[in-house]
């Protein structure tokens, strides 16, 4: 009975992974089809031409660069904000904590288009109030995309850092203070080193969330685009397999990253297992 259920489970899992992967394979495959339209059927022969066309596309390179710049800016803003928010939240309790927490996680639940529209309207109105409508900061553009993205990505950072703070022993800070450390040293030498794993993970998440972002960027951008919006506008305005070539490269990059991650994880797991085995042997030898 339970053997059957396990088999059924394996089968369902395999089916699910197939369901997730097949569309991506179809898309990647179409990058090599010598056809004007992006498709795998009918197959008109193998070609590399679409990659050449992709690399020659200046708009794509511009959008790619913009995506990277925006993502880096989001990381630079969201990580300190989210970390500070987690530290502040951790130090208060009761009713205020719940309220503050509510305000902090609300942007995660808010639809992207609402974030985008409200950001544009707010900065635009600021321009009116200050009589500086033409100043670049108050108009639409990628700087507003960055701010809009930070408003919800900071919440992810906050949640990750807050989780890590639960395992922090505040006594360490007390000890450092008693031993004469100043406040800066307490933060730099005691608290931050404990938080680094969470900070690094949240920086990576912030970076990729920003690259992925579509809704906020679409509403806040002016003429400059990011890679996601570029793909969207290409799909909308008559498409060539150039985009498939781009998709193929991005999927390849994702796979390589995943493979590196998995190999690294296995290596660490093996080292850990060896260490434990050694500890066991040492223990047995002692007995």
């Amino acid at each position: 009975m339970s053997r059957n259920r396990a088999l059924l489970g394996h089968f369902y899992f395999a089916l699910f992974v197939l369901y997730l992967l097949v569309p991506l394979m179809v898309m990647a495959g179409a990058a090599f089809n010598d056809s004007r339209l992006p498709t795998v059927a009918p197959w008109k022969g193998f070609t590399w031409a679409w990659f050449g066309e992709l690399f020659a596309d200046q708009t794509m390179w511009g959008a790619f660069l913009n995506s990277i710049i925006v993502a880096l800016a989001v990381v630079v803003l969201a990580v300190p904000i989210g970390t500070a928010a987690a530290i502040v939240l951790n130090s208060i309790s009761g009713k205020y904590r719940a309220t503050l927490y509510g305000f902090m996680v609300a942007p995660v639940l808010a639809p992207g288009l609402v974030i985008g529209i409200s950001t544009v309207l707010f900065w635009n109105q600021m321009g009116h109030v200050l009589h500086a409508e033409d100043f670049f900061l108050f108009g639409r553009g990628l700087h507003l995309s960055t701010l809009g993205q930070v408003s919800y990505i900071a919440a992810y950072v906050m949640l990750l850092v807050l989780a890590r703070l639960q395992s922090f022993d505040p006594g360490l800070e007390e000890a450092a203070l008693d031993l004469g450390a100043n406040h800066g040293q307490v933060l730099r030498r005691i608290l931050l080193p404990h938080l680094y794993p969470a900070i690094a993970a949240s920086a990576a998440i912030a970076f990729f969330q920003s690259i992925e972002n579509f809704n906020v960027t679409l509403f806040t951008k002016a003429n400059e685009t990011t890679l996601t919006v570029y793909v969207f506008s290409q799909v909308r305005s008559g498409i060539t397999p150039k985009i498939n070539a781009l998709a193929f490269l991005l999927i390849l990059l994702t796979l390589v990253l995943a493979l590196v991650y998995e190999m690294n994880r296995r290596r660490l797991a093996r080292i850990e297992a060896e260490r434990q085995a050694e500890a066991r042997r040492a223990e047995e030898a002692m007995l």
Binding site: T39, A106, L109, S118, L159, V231, F232, L255
Partner: protein
């Protein structure tokens, strides 16, 4: 607060508080307030802003009641405003997507949490993560290729003899004009349902399941009475995420939708970008935001969970 001051001193505490204040006030509260305020003001040329024509009214909101047309809901003919119909369609099909995602993700979450070999879990999770790292625009595009009239899906179905003629997924579909949108949204967001439920089931003690089975409970009752009640926070969280993402998606309906299947965010985008009527756009997104808040509260009531359980 006292505690922060003692640990980090005035300078650092002030920096922390300023960062938090910048985030909460400048990036979250004030923009939403600006949207709220603008939504009650008419759309005017720049010279008239602040003039006598610039007063608060519900004019932008009442635009949703314009343009009544004849349509049918579940076969019952009704006359209703075109934007209301689109709004109801969006909410209904987003709820349908949420339901499909739940049905597909729950067994998999249970499998990962309780049946699969714990040692292989990181690898299995990675296998699921890889497709999610590919951007949403590309995933929608992949289905655009699959669902085209001469595309692989129709060829496969014809090859297997299920259908005689190709289906125009993006125009007519089998059931409604929204078929393609529902298929693609489900594909894009199913993993947002999987991970919260998986996390919730992992924390369930396997002994409880065994106890239920030893006491003669059939598998479905074990799930109904033991596993599902325990995974409620995960289910609520997944439902909220999937509903919000699908109802708020602009990308998928634009890529695979057609003129017969309109999604509410597309209307907002048209007001905002093509008509440059930001005020009506603001009013419509206020309406949209209210529905989202209502859905979150509904889920919290329905599953009896707190906000901190949903947003994790």
């Amino acid at each position: 607060m006292q505690d922060l001051l003692r640990r980090y001193g005035t300078g650092l505490t002030a920096t922390f508080c300023l960062l938090v204040a910048f985030w909460i006030l400048v990036l979250v509260i004030l923009p939403n307030f600006a949207m709220f305020e603008q939504s009650f003001r008419p759309y005017l040329p720049v010279v008239d802003i602040g003039g006598p024509k610039d007063f608060y009214s519900l004019g932008n909101y009442s635009k949703i009641l314009d343009n009544p047309f004849d349509t049918a809901i579940f076969g019952i003919p009704v006359t209703m405003p075109i934007h209301i119909k689109m709004f109801l369609d969006t909410v209904f099909y987003a709820a349908l997507v949420t339901f499909f995602c739940l049905v597909m993700a729950y067994p998999l979450a249970y499998y990962l949490a309780k049946i699969a070999d714990p040692k292989s879990i990181p690898t299995l999770l990675l296998l699921l993560f890889v497709p999610m790292w590919v951007s949403e625009a590309l995933r929608a595009f992949a289905w655009y290729i699959i669902l085209t009239f001469n595309g692989p899906l129709n060829m496969l179905l014809q090859g297997l003899g299920f259908i005689d003629q190709g289906i125009r997924w993006q125009q007519g579909g089998i059931f409604t004009a929204y078929d393609a949108i529902v298929i693609v949204l489900t594909y894009c967001y199913v993993l947002f349902m999987l991970f919260p439920i998986y996390t919730a089931i992992t924390s369930l003690d396997s002994n409880q399941i065994e106890a239920a089975e030893d006491l003669g409970s059939p598998w479905w009752r074990t799930h109904w009475r033991v596993v599902i009640p325990h995974s409620k926070p995960g289910i609520a969280s997944g439902c909220v995420m999937v509903f919000m993402l699908s109802a708020g998606s602009l990308l998928v309906p634009t890529v695979v939708g057609s003129t017969r299947a309109n999604w509410f965010p597309q209307t907002i985008y048209n007001f905002f970008n093509d008509a440059l009527d930001w005020n009506t756009g603001a009013a419509y997104s206020m309406i949209f935001l209210l529905v989202c808040i209502f859905f979150v509260i509904l889920m919290m009531r329905l599953f009896k969970v707190k906000l901190s359980d949903i947003a994790k």
